[in-house]
């Protein structure tokens, strides 16, 4: 007997500081953590919700926003059923980075993945990104859109519940991508000459 009927993997991405970890904490633990450190690498949370009387387990992978952890975080995109792309409505640069994130998602995630754009921190007075701008962006890129406040617990429950509902519908229509451990794309962008020398070095030493 299983204690859930559906299991979905949800991955959060977006610049550091936009409130990804707070959103996850709010949803899974019902609290707004005071001053925790920035996420490094990846963090993991779980929550089981009920949709139409069926138990749905959400595995939530919360990633670090910083560039240097990109290679490990990318390795989590591939098996995601849903990707939540978060920006901070009071911080224009986090919105400006969205195209970069989309490119990354395009490259590393399954193309059928459910994508949701989230503008977080609606409680703040100093809004820089009007709602309709975020909405437009989401529409243009085929994403769902929602504005949230992890602090005031606004729309956080709704965000994850709607994901659960949507994924469950997909699962019932068998549209959900199946993950059977296929290879991810090989990371490029490495200074190939360094690689080359190390490679030679290794061959050389390998059987010395």
């Amino acid at each position: 007997m299983e204690d859930y009927k559906f299991l979905f993997k949800v991955v959060l991405v977006g610049n550091a500081g936009v409130g990804k970890t707070c959103l996850v904490r709010r949803f899974t633990q019902g609290l707004f953590p005071p001053g925790q450190g920035a996420t490094i690498g990846v963090d993991f949370m779980i929550k089981t919700v009920e949709v139409d009387g069926e138990k749905v387990k959400l595995q939530i992978w919360d990633t670090a926003g910083q560039e240097r952890f990109r290679s490990i975080t990318q390795s989590y995109y591939r098996s995601a059923h849903a990707l939540i792309l978060v920006y901070d409505i009071s911080c224009q640069p986090t919105f400006d980075c969205l195209p970069d994130w989309l490119r990354e998602i395009e490259e590393y995630a399954n193309n059928k993945v459910l994508r949701i754009l989230v503008g977080n921190k609606t409680d703040r007075e100093d809004r820089e990104i009007p709602r309709h701008i975020g909405e437009d962006f989401a529409q243009r890129h085929g994403m769902y859109f929602l504005e949230t406040s992890a602090k005031e617990a606004e729309n956080v429950e709704r965000l994850f519940m709607e994901i659960a509902v949507e994924l469950m519908e997909q699962a019932k229509c068998k549209e959900l991508p199946k993950y059977d451990g296929n290879l991810g794309p090989i990371n490029g962008g490495v200074s190939c000459r360094i690689r080359f020398f190390v490679y030679i070095f290794l061959i050389r030493k390998l059987l010395q």
């Binding site: 007997m1 490094i40 390795s75 360094i194 030679i200 059987l207």
Partner: protein, 818 residues
């Protein structure tokens, strides 16, 4: 007494089931199934009291005597623990986990598999909780499980979640340092467990796949890089010092050693790729101590791993490889680029000599060498790629055709391997002018190989021609013969004057070699198609009014051989008809020849009606062909020389040459005598119109000097001349060698004793070879070798000096110590 109790138990068994459904508060425990009661009894009233030992013994005994109940016991324990986690009664959760551990260790039986499912579910459940204590506990259980050798591993079991979660734990940023370290340690131990569990059996879970390595390797490195200082143990054994288990950096290092040590030769790359990516991402190259530390660990572990098993093969390989890739200090004799190539080739040759069909490791090793070659070539300017290709081609045994005996099997294998290497290098080359891509000696060597005895070798050779000829990306469209070119989207440009000169010189040699290639009895469909592709590419790349008659003459000759060559089979005759008509119909797509197109279309139509077997696709076999359908019986379906000449004339092409006697004769054996002097022969073979072109403005040909976009370096003695090639092949002279030895000894000594800053100084004036290599590599791309932002080692060097020092020798002196 006993039987009575049993009776009672039996009597109320039915009741117990129904009652259980309505009552699960524990008040009716006497009525529940035995295994449930046994499980319930191991829990104390208060969690502080811990597992009830005596009852645990009973449960273990019961499980051993009724192993078929194990899965239910596991499931029940899991259910209880789930409830307890939900109610935050962690004390009971810990007890449940402990019980499962004990059962797992006690019950080595066939049914363990079923129990393991619930066991792993339990571990996962605990890992999913937010409580560090439970996560750590779960990891310990997982590790215990990982150390058990299962008789029959379960192939459907997946460790995906565990890799993901343990990797996340390796990155814990828990506020309390002590807890953080514990979680990270647990994460590393967990990864170690997964590795142990999966590494020996790819069917369980292929741990070497990128999706796992991209998580495991960065997680280990992230922990290693946080160490305060890096001490690399020189021993090949794992870290035997105390306290490994308590410090994340050291445990991570031990785990990395184990991972690399267990990697087979072919898997090393899977580990290495994420290592390099991680170093790039985290800017870990400078300062260099961590990089050096890490790569040393990798090296030691590879050696330790290689030490186990298959000693003989490894040892043989070891001696051979020890002198591979001579970038090293002191070995400054001869052109180093070619030394590297020569070394790689020598190793390939030795490996082939050792090879037996079964030895897959040997194959992997050869592949690695070929890849190294390709990777190396990829970093050289194009003119050097050609030199390398010439170098390789000269090492290929020619297969002793026409000579004393047949080529040996080893020769044939070496041919194949070296041609693969050649192809690898060839694909990195971007052809601009054909004369640059095919210097006369290179072309001659290639064409000589086109008659190799092994059909697969001949296919490889054609592939090399394809990659060098195809400047416009047409090759994929021309993989198989066709008469419908309109839809293919071929890219056609006008043939340049230089190319015309090239074909005037070498056209006949190329054409006749391809012609002969089509006549070989051992040809497979793949051979025929590959030669077709080469010819079609030539037609496209060299299509012009000056060459059209020569091409047509060749096509007619192929057609003729498909009727009259008595040696080839009927199937091959049909194949040649399809090829010749396919090539003919390609010409009107390359240039304006409307009359020719009309004429050929009629033939195509007629064949479609009456002799579909003379049209593409070419088949391996043409069974049930009635004698009346043999090509020789269908002259009216052939391209007629006179008619074709008329059509060409109507298109304004001087076609009298088409009527002159054909230089091609089936049965290459007769013309073999002048096969080796065809370069000259080509020019005097009466190819007047082509020869005329040569009289135009003299262009320097066959010179590697002027590859566009690449400046030749002011390093004459380093430049790759034939003389240099020969020298590299023969090795340095005795005197040169002694000289080099002496310099090497001094240098190595200096490297061992001198402080780092001094070394940089030392390397500056004497290291010509490395400097030159550096120059070479810098000229290839603008991209800096290392991020410019990286700070240089502090010292007295001026800025201009810094630019002169090869960055990698400066940052990685250790890499050049050997």
């Amino acid at each position: 007494m006993m039987p009575a109790r049993k009776m009672a138990h039996r009597a109320c068994f039915f009741v117990s089931r129904t009652v259980y459904l309505t009552c699960c508060c524990g008040c009716c425990s006497a009525l529940r199934p035995r295994y449930k009661r046994l499980v319930d009894n191991i829990f104390p009233a208060s969690p502080q009291d811990g597992l009830v030992k005596s009852n645990m013994e009973k449960l273990t005994f019961y499980s051993l005597s009724s192993p078929e109940k194990l899965d239910r016991i596991g499931e029940y324990l899991f259910q209880k623990a789930s409830r307890d986690i939900y109610r935050r009664r962690h004390g009971f959760v810990i007890i449940a986990m402990e019980a499962m551990d004990q059962l797992l260790l006690a019950c080595h039986s066939q049914t363990l598999n079923l129990f393991v499912e619930s066991f792993l579910k339990m571990v996962q459940k605990l890992l999913e909780s937010t409580d560090p204590q439970l996560q750590i506990l779960a990891t310990q259980s997982f590790v215990r499980f990982a150390n058990i050798e299962e008789d029959t591993p379960s192939y459907h079991r997946r460790y995906d979640f565990f890799v993901s979660k343990f990797s996340a734990m390796c990155h814990s940023n828990h506020g309390d340092k002590n807890t953080r370290d514990k979680i990270r340690l647990a994460g590393i131990q967990g990864l170690q467990g997964v590795i142990r569990k999966t590494v020996s059996d790819d069917l369980v879970e292929n741990i070497w796949e990128a999706q796992h390595m991209d998580k495991i390797v960065p997680s280990l490195l992230y922990n290693m890089q946080s160490a305060e200082k890096y001490e690399t143990l020189s021993c090949m054994e794992s870290d035997g010092r105390d306290g490994v288990e308590e410090q994340p950096p050291r445990l991570a290092e031990a785990c990395l050693r184990e991972l690399v040590g267990r990697a087979s030769f072919g898997h090393i790359r899977s580990v290495l790729r994420p290592v390099l990516t991680h170093f790039d991402r985290h800017d870990l190259w400078i300062p260099t101590d961590f990089a050096v530390h890490t790569f040393k660990i990798i090296m030691f572990s590879i050696q330790a791993g290689a030490g186990r098993g298959r000693g003989r093969v490894r040892a043989a390989r070891a001696t051979v490889l020890s002198n591979i890739v001579a970038i090293a200090a002191g070995e400054s004799v001869g052109p180093s680029v070619l030394e590297i190539i020569n070394n790689l080739l020598t190793n390939l040759r030795t490996s082939v000599a050792r090879d037996s069909e079964k030895e897959t490791d040997e194959k992997l090793y050869q592949e690695a060498l070929i890849n190294a070659l390709g990777e190396f070539a990829d970093h050289l300017p194009d003119y050097q790629k050609i030199d390398i290709m010439m170098f390789i081609v000269n090492k290929i045994p020619s297969g002793a055709r026409g000579g004393a005996g047949k080529a040996t099997r080893a020769d044939a294998m070496l041919q194949g391997i070296l041609l693969k290497s050649l192809l690898k290098v060839g694909t990195t080359y971007k052809t601009t002018e054909l004369s640059k891509a095919f210097p006369a000696a290179f072309l001659e060597a290639l064409l000589r190989l086109s008659s190799a005895s092994e059909p697969s070798t001949r296919v490889l050779l054609q592939r090399i021609l394809h990659t060098l000829l195809d400047r416009r990306g047409n090759a994929p469209h021309l993989a198989t013969p066709t008469v419908d070119y309109a839809e293919l989207g071929l890219t056609v440009e006008k043939c340049s004057r230089q190319d015309l000169i090239f074909i005037s010189k070498h056209g006949y040699a190329i054409f006749s070699s391809l012609y002969d290639g089509l006549q070989l009895e051992s040809n497979t469909v793949e051979n025929i198609e590959a030669i077709y592709t080469t010819l079609a590419l030539l037609v496209i790349e060299l299509g012009s009014e000056e060459t059209v008659c020569d091409v047509m003459q060749l096509i007619l000759a192929i057609q003729q051989s498909g009727i009259s060559n008595p040696v080839i089979s009927v199937s091959q005759q049909c194949q040649l008809q399809a090829v010749s008509l396919s090539l003919a119909t390609l010409l009107p797509h390359v240039m304006m020849l409307p009359r020719v197109a009309d004429y050929l279309n009629k033939i195509v139509e007629a064949r479609r009606e009456e002799a579909i077997h003379l049209l593409p696709p070419v088949l391996e076999d043409y069974p049930h062909l009635s004698p009346t359908k043999m090509p020789s019986k269908l002259p009216f379906l052939m391209i007629d020389q006179m008619a074709l000449a008329e059509c060409l004339k109507a298109c304004g092409i001087e076609s009298s040459r088409l009527q002159s006697p054909s230089p091609y004769t089936p049965g290459g054996g007769i013309s073999l005598a002048h096969r080796h002097s065809w370069v000259e022969a080509g020019a005097t073979q009466g190819r007047d119109s082509l020869a005329d072109i040569t009289a135009g403005p003299t262009t320097e040909m066959d010179s590697a000097n002027s590859s566009p976009g690449v400046q030749r370096h002011p390093m004459q003695n380093e430049s790759v001349s034939l003389e240099a090639l020969r020298r590299a092949a023969n090795g340095p002279s005795e005197m040169e060698r002694r000289d080099a030895e002496r310099r090497k000894a001094t240098l190595n000594n200096a490297f061992r004793t001198a402080p780092f800053g001094h070394l940089v100084d030392l390397t500056q004036p004497k290291y010509e070879v490395k400097d030159k290599l550096e120059e070479l590599f810098n000229s290839i791309s603008e991209e800096p070798l290392l991020p410019v932002s990286g700070s240089c080692s502090p010292g007295t060097q001026t800025k201009s000096y810094q630019q002169n020092v090869p960055p990698y020798t400066k940052y990685f002196p250790e890499l050049f110590l050997y």
